[in-house]
Assembly symmetry: C2
Homo-oligomer: 198 residues x 2
DNA sequence: GGTTGCATGTAAATGGTTACATGATTGT
DNA sequence: ACAATCATGTAACCATTTACATGCAACC
């Protein structure tokens, strides 16, 4: 499953421009299980047109740049359906955040706390967005997927809220002197220094 | 954050061969937030050695192929610590499973049900593995990360168990005749046919 | 006799990110 | 004046996946 299939999927829900597709993938109902940027979406759309999976018409808008609106063709629909029949590959996750907390006790308590707070902010914003998508009642599969995303994010929020204190306390214990008794300047230096090489 | 950093992280927990690193990433405590295969791990280890981040000694074993055991050098430790100070990039998730259920009502009820059952099996196995990792009590950060992984997987299990029926029922409604009144042969053909082109 | 586990690697191909390039309009 | 939103695209670079190549030991 690649960005091309993703585009077919987004367009199954109605025609859209490349820009609009990116928004749906970045903030909309696809955001919690797929990521894609302009650099992969635009070429994917061009290729799908050449393959006859999409039709495209240019639309000029008042006071806005022109845009290209893409539509699924019957072939495009068939290719999407066929992709849906393949056995799903394993999830691929890559989370810097998880990697960071995995080594939580190597960080200063201050920084760890900030990382966790930022994460909570992000998770809460994400839940809001997914709930907004659920609000304009989507088809059942989409609703199921959104609900699952919300459940997963909520579980993360609850867990982090419940356990952050013990982790931060542990980091504070391991780092007895540093950073805490000093001004913000010293802390900033400590937290941004870079090792030579690499 | 790339596979090189991942290797440094794994080796922070003790020396290991490329093969052993892969196992930790595939089944062990890293499995829920990072994926990497031999094709990326072996080159990463070679490169890290050349950069002086790792030391390597060859070990021969009785009745087993020789293996190369890697160790973090002081520089390697410093590079890891430095990576930990960078702000974490956004999570990158790519889930075919989610994509599939997103379009749940386009699948036959039978197939959808199988996909969901397989997912539950996989989630339960994953939870068991993460619990096994938690059992030999790891450092606090690692325990936090494992607990979070378990919480997220459990939330998924609960949600799927609670909601699969409504989704499958919906798929059955949308697909009135097909597949259900027929033998397994006909169903199999329906579920594996491929569209020309693509 | 076949599969799984242990163990290492390379080369080609894929796929995606990042940075660049452009430009009007709206809001602070 | 500056940033953000809307809008599209390309090219170079990078990372990773996939397939290939090898081989012994243990288990069923």
């Amino acid at each position: 499953m690649d960005v091309k299939t993703l585009c077919l999927g987004v367009l199954y829900g109605g025609n859209a421009s490349g820009y609009e597709i990116k928004k749906q993938v970045e903030e909309g109902p696809f955001s919690h299980f797929y990521a894609a940027g302009f650099g992969s979406i635009y070429p994917a759309l061009t290729a799908l047109c050449e393959e006859g999976c999409l039709s495209c018409r240019e639309m000029q808008q008042p006071k806005r740049p022109d845009k290209k609106v893409y539509d699924l063709t019957p072939k495009g629909r068939a290719v999407l359906l066929d992709a849906l029949l393949q056995d799903p590959a394993r999830d691929r996750v890559r989370s810097d955040f998880m990697f960071l907390v995995f080594f939580g006790e190597l960080l200063t308590a201050r920084r760890l706390d900030k990382v966790l707070s930022d994460r909570l902010d992000w998770l809460r914003a994400r839940v809001s967005e997914l709930e907004r998508c659920l609000a304009d009642d989507p088809p059942p599969g989409q609703a199921f997927a959104l609900g699952l995303g919300i459940a997963v994010h909520r579980a993360q929020i609850d867990y982090v809220e419940a356990n952050r204190h013990i982790l931060v306390a542990e980091a504070l214990r391991t780092e007895p002197s540093f950073d805490d008794a000093r001004g913000p300047g010293a802390g900033a230096v400590l937290e941004s220094q870079t090792v030579a090489g690499k």
